[in-house]
């Protein structure tokens, strides 16, 4: 009948798996007041992460470090998709470009200081995301989910192919033997040192993201996710909001990519491509999109499971993992976290604190 109503009912009539992950499941616990489950989960995860290297063998700590870096990567996708509703299937573009960027910094300029590598990674991710946002999000009219997802995926695919063909970037082989990262005169090798560095960076990014998402900006993002057109009619510049969160997501993916390059000691084309992008989608859907801790838990569980399954079921482990992922997405579209976290607490509230109200009155 009308353009407005048909676009709205259109998305309702054909919900995809991804779409369904944002729709609350019937029967999910809904309490009147936000509960206190989230802080408990967050604290538990933090304690486990903090003590893990004390109990793990060194090779497992190396593996766990990689997982932490991937958690950071998952946060970037969760911000963009879980909170702002932008389906970026090319998140690896920012991860991989930053990885390659810092690898070149090491190879060509012999710079490996943490204080150069991580900021450069963030900058590369930010700029690349802004450029891509210019194409995908910043038109005068809002772009469709399909356009954004296919567009970003194409970006990742193209970057992968270009890197394969580039002599400067090492072609198929990538860039090997990146030197170790340094902090001042201290050289950081694989193991507990790198683990705690990755953990600290993850915690800082997590807390900054949480601050942002609980702010009034977070409320605007919630509006963007739930009904982009509606909030445009309130006067929100939705394209700007999208470009900003997309760029922040790009920067976080860039930080993750730069750490990944130095942790692994080499970069290769896969980290730019579609496989890596898809992986991060699975982490977040598995754990629970729209919660930061869900992204972290999802990454840890998927990676942990793959490690264990590949050890014990050498031939068929990808099938088992695939089925498990499918089951979660089918029966828990809001991810594993929704087993313990109610809808009300997940969305949260953005009302001012009593202190903010008092301050405003005085």
């Amino acid at each position: 009948m009308s353009q407005l109503s048909s676009t709205r009912t259109g998305t309702r009539a054909a919900p995809s798996v991804i779409e369904a992950s944002r729709t609350p499941t019937i029967g999910a616990p809904v309490s009147a007041e936000p509960g206190r489950v989230l802080p408990i989960i967050e604290m538990a995860v933090l304690i486990i992460a903090a003590v893990a290297p004390l109990t793990l063998q060194n090779y497992m700590t190396v593996y766990a470090t990689r997982v932490l870096i991937l958690c950071l990567f998952a946060l970037s996708f969760d911000l963009v998709w879980g909170y702002a509703g932008i389906l970026s299937l090319g998140q690896s573009l920012f991860f991989g470009m930053a990885g390659y960027g810092v690898a070149l910094l090491s190879r060509d300029f012999h710079i490996a200081s943490l204080f150069a590598v991580v900021p450069l990674g963030a900058l590369i991710g930010l700029v690349a995301a802004l450029l891509l946002a210019g194409f995908l999000l910043l038109g005068r009219h809002t772009s469709s989910v399909v356009f954004v997802s296919l567009g970003s995926m194409t970006g990742a695919y193209a970057a992968d192919r270009l890197a394969r063909g580039s002599y400067y970037l090492g072609g198929q082989n990538g860039i090997p033997s990146i030197q170790s990262m340094s902090i001042g005169s201290y050289t950081l090798n694989e193991g507990p040192g790198f683990y705690y560095l990755a953990l600290i960076i993850l915690i800082v990014v997590y807390l900054l993201s949480r601050f942002l998402l609980r702010s009034q900006f977070g409320l605007a993002l919630a509006g963007l996710r739930e009904n982009e057109q509606r909030i445009a009619f309130f006067g929100y510049k939705v394209q700007h909001l999208k470009a900003i969160i997309f760029a922040i997501g790009g920067a976080i993916a860039g930080i993750a990519g730069s750490l990944y390059a130095f942790h692994e000691g080499f970069v290769w084309t896969t980290i730019l491509g579609v496989v890596m992008s898809t992986q991060v989608v699975l982490y977040v859907l598995f754990g629970g999109s729209g919660t930061l801790i869900g992204a972290v838990i999802g990454t840890a569980i998927v990676e942990g499971l793959s490690f264990w399954l590949s050890d014990n079921y050498r031939d068929i482990w990808p099938i088992i993992l695939g089925l498990l992922l499918l089951l979660v997405i089918l029966f828990r579209p809001l991810g594993l976290i929704s087993l313990v976290l109610g809808e009300r607490e997940r969305v949260g509230t953005f009302r001012p604190s009593p202190k903010e109200i008092r301050d405003a009155a005085s």
């Binding site: 407005l4 005068r140 009034q216 605007a220 809808e343 009302r351």
Partner: protein, 244 residues
């Protein structure tokens, strides 16, 4: 100088002419009703005014500015607000957050990131909720409201930014008689600061609250005038009797 002036508005969808040279003027603080049979072009005219559709021909001026090609965001920032025909409150957010979301739409990015406006907007949020009789449910999810209450919440959201002109597309659709009566009461006080264009099927409702009416039929303006003039218009009566 009228607040809103639309002249020569035509809208063609393929072979269908939804609007044919329609015109509308609305003064400051005037309540103006759009009526007409189904398919007469009321909703299309509303969309052309709000920016959801761009007219094929014609010109829309608002507060002395030509806004014909403005996006919805730009129109909202100029002081125009729309309540959609289908309720589109944000169901998972609380009522409070729904209103705050509407109120803070024009805050700067830094104010949003550092949450600098919500402290002083708190009172406005609570006032809006009280005005629309929703204050008891302030911290419930909007999805838990009845249909009528969702409509009120949406009117409250549309009014939150203190617009100079509010466009309401069938605000009483699906409401009970009692809810309609209350809606009329809720709309009266906004007259002190805001004009209203309202599309409505319920003629009794619209007669009670509007100053002037415009009647559309098959995309054309059939008549425009005060409620009394329209009621006395033989042509209008014929249209309504013919379709009744």
């Amino acid at each position: 100088m009228p607040l809103l002036e639309a002249v020569g508005i035509s809208k063609v969808f393929g072979k269908l002419t939804a609007l044919d040279n329609a015109a509308l003027t609305v003064d400051e603080k005037e309540f103006h009703g759009l009526i007409g049979p189904n398919g007469s072009g009321k909703s299309t005219l509303m969309k052309c005014l709000a920016g959801a559709e761009v007219p094929t021909q014609g010109k829309v001026s608002f507060a002395n500015t030509d806004i014909t090609t403005f996006t919805p965001t730009e129109r909202a920032r100029a002081g125009m607000s729309l309540k959609f025909q289908i309720t589109s409150v944000l169901p998972t957010l609380t009522l409070y957050d729904n209103i705050l979301l509407a109120l803070q739409a024009q805050s700067s990015l830094l104010d949003l990131v550092f949450s600098r406006t919500r402290g002083r907007q708190h009172e406005q949020v609570m006032t809006m909720l009280a005005q629309f009789r929703l204050v008891d449910r302030a911290f419930d999810a909007a999805a838990a409201l009845s249909h009528g209450q969702q409509q009120w919440l949406e009117i409250a959201m549309a009014l939150a930014g203190r617009p100079r002109l509010l466009l309401l597309d069938e605000p009483t659709g699906g409401m009970s008689l009692e809810e309609r009566r209350v809606t009329g009461e809720l709309l009266q006080p906004i007259k002190q600061h805001c004009s209203l264009i309202i599309v409505e099927h319920d003629l009794d409702f619209i007669r009670d609250i509007c100053d002037r009416l415009t009647v559309l039929d098959q995309g054309r303006i059939l008549a425009s005038g005060t409620v009394a003039q329209i009621q006395a218009n033989a042509h209008v009566q014929e249209i309504y009797l013919r379709r009744a």
